[in-house]
Symmetry: C2
């Protein structure tokens, strides 16, 4: 990123953070920035939940250089709520204003093939995988890795979209065509004990603030529940953080990074036990509990990192369970609001479509309750 | 309030809360409402810190019936960040939209004479006081109550403004003239052990959620520090809550009410020990620690109460110390942001004038640390 503008020291209160995206993650980033006396300017191709609280907004296509240039001139730093920002957009902005994390992180995270190759290249364990660019490769990959396996589009998949589960009897070529005949990756489906994640913030100087790892449960490809602390011995916790910190350092990353890991269980030697599933170069659903169980949340630490503030204390004051409210589940808001120790978050979305994340609830328990 | 519109059941997510005032309390109310999926429309006579996060705003004089009427038509309920809203404003709005708390609470809280008379009329203890409408009454009151005493304007005083300390040698008449020859109240200055407050929310059906009482320290008439829990035995805690709940019930109050109390100490019988100093019909600076040490803050409970939602759990998960950042003190934001367990809040005010509340910091400690 030679030639790109660099911030000189922390942005003072009153500065403006530019955020690409107008969804619930942007909304929660704005709430965190506001708490620190910072303003937020949202840039998105459509209005969303973040617009209710944005100090300023630009609704324009992500490839509109004129609007991007105007946006860059009005903000002090740019960050993102999602990783599927077109790389050209990030680069256009990065020529004009500091962009954090840097566009390389997005380029890698946007493509499962690049991501897995990058992580494996760091010497970190990933589930066996093969890249699939055509129907023949799909068949060959399934044969080589052996079922069960999951075929995933290399780009633009999220929340279980763009995926197909394959058994030994599946027609891998047909599955590849159903996914749109686009570059894919075939991953071996492993019998892991649990899925955990690491959410950490990395600051401008390379300092890292890592939250305790939650155990995550998915349903239908969508995160359902995160429980913290995950049942993970201290050495495995440290190993998980180390994996995430190595990825962040290799990317020269600034901001919050989430890394999902498969835990094969304590009977597997530590260096082979935790496999990287995927990473997200942004605040992450499995870190939402930090809003209620920590002095400084993942959202605030993302803002602190990109504004070059000192990172905040990631220590937990409580144990927590975070449950996503998906689709019609959010209709139970009144009952949830009545529960002792329940922290209810609704994202302000009008329409409760099936599979849509409408909110979440964090249930707090005294620290140590979960061990 | 016969004839005034009434809400029928809780306001669903997506509804709009109208807030009078654009200061930091409105700002924190908006952050809380946003978390619940509610929108906020600010009405104020000047832009302030709340405007950065308001979904809509009206900047117009508080006595402009045209703008007030338009505002009333765009919101589902109206509440306030400050008690000095002109009574006519509150009544104009109350004819058109539910107003919570009801304007009677403001009428009483706006006038120290009405307030003290009202509270004493409930059989609750207040510090000895006398109303002062002219210079002769000022002299007579000082003689009757005996120095030391404080002369306060009956209306529009806050943060130590509109007050004069009187000793036995003071010229009470001159002091009254210096305060503008307006109606005042003379209060006997008592040798109290500590000042504590009760911050509670009262819902539509009369349910009450009371936070643990903090001990408050003032400097120069401005709240400096709140420590929670206050050193107060359980019986005195209960008594304090009971006093505040009785005031709230007598006002048919909906929303957050703060009551400041002088504690004469454990050697005084319980029924005479806690004297009501004053009340605030709004979220209160001595409740700011609830943002960080409770699952549901005073701001969220204010929103819940006025929207007829179930009140949230006021239980503390941590002990806390809240320190106001006044004027230039907020310049230490970088150092404070580095502290472990520190929750920093900056209000987004541009100019750090002397005596101006620029932010606050809550320092969390494990529950039980303070006893």
């Amino acid at each position: 990123m030679t030639g790109a503008p660099a911030l000189r020291g922390p942005l003072p209160p009153g500065s403006t953070i530019g955020i690409l995206g107008s969804g619930q993650l942007a909304r929660m980033l704005i709430l965190a920035a506001t708490r620190l006396g910072l303003r937020c300017h949202v840039y998105a191709d459509a209005k969303g939940p973040a617009c209710d609280v944005a100090a300023a907004m630009t609704i324009a296509p992500y490839d509109d250089t004129t609007w991007l240039t105007a946006f860059a001139s009005e903000v002090d730093v740019v960050t993102f709520e999602f990783e599927n920002v077109p790389e050209a957009t990030a680069r256009t902005l990065a020529e004009r204003v500091p962009v954090r994390p840097n566009p390389d992180a997005f380029r890698i995270a946007q493509d499962r093939i690049a991501e897995k190759s990058f992580i494996a290249g760091l010497g970190l364990a990933v589930a066996p995988f093969a890249s699939v660019y055509n129907a023949d490769e799909a068949k060959a990959a399934l044969k080589k890795l052996a079922a069960p396996a999951i075929l995933k589009t290399a780009r633009l998949g999220y929340d279980g979209k763009g995926q197909a589960s394959l058994t030994a009897r599946s027609d891998a070529a047909a599955a590849w065509r159903r996914l749109g005949s686009v570059p894919c990756v075939l991953e071996k489906r492993l019998a892991f004990k649990q899925e955990v994640s690491v959410v950490l913030a990395r600051g401008v100087g390379g300092t890292v603030a890592a939250y305790d790892s939650p155990q995550n449960t998915h349903a239908g490809g969508i995160l359902r529940r995160s429980i913290v602390p995950a049942p993970l011995e201290p050495a495995a916790q440290v190993r998980a953080r180390d994996i995430a910190a190595r990825i962040a350092a290799a990317l020269n990353y600034i901001g919050v990074l989430a890394v999902e890991l498969f835990d094969l269980g304590p009977e597997v030697p530590l260096e082979h036990r935790l496999l990287v599933n995927e990473m997200a170069p942004r605040v992450h659903n499995s870190g939402h509990w930090t809003l209620d169980a920590c002095a400084v949340s993942q959202f605030e630490n993302q803002i602190r990192a990109v504004a070059d503030w000192p990172l905040g204390d990631p220590a937990r004051h409580s144990d927590a369970e975070m449950l996503n409210l998906i689709g019609q589940e959010a209709n139970a808001w009144r009952e949830i609001a009545s529960e002792a120790g329940a922290c209810l978050h609704l994202y302000g979305k009008r329409e409760a479509r099936e599979g849509r994340k409408m909110g979440h609830v964090t249930r707090l328990l005294p620290k140590g309750t979960r061990g």
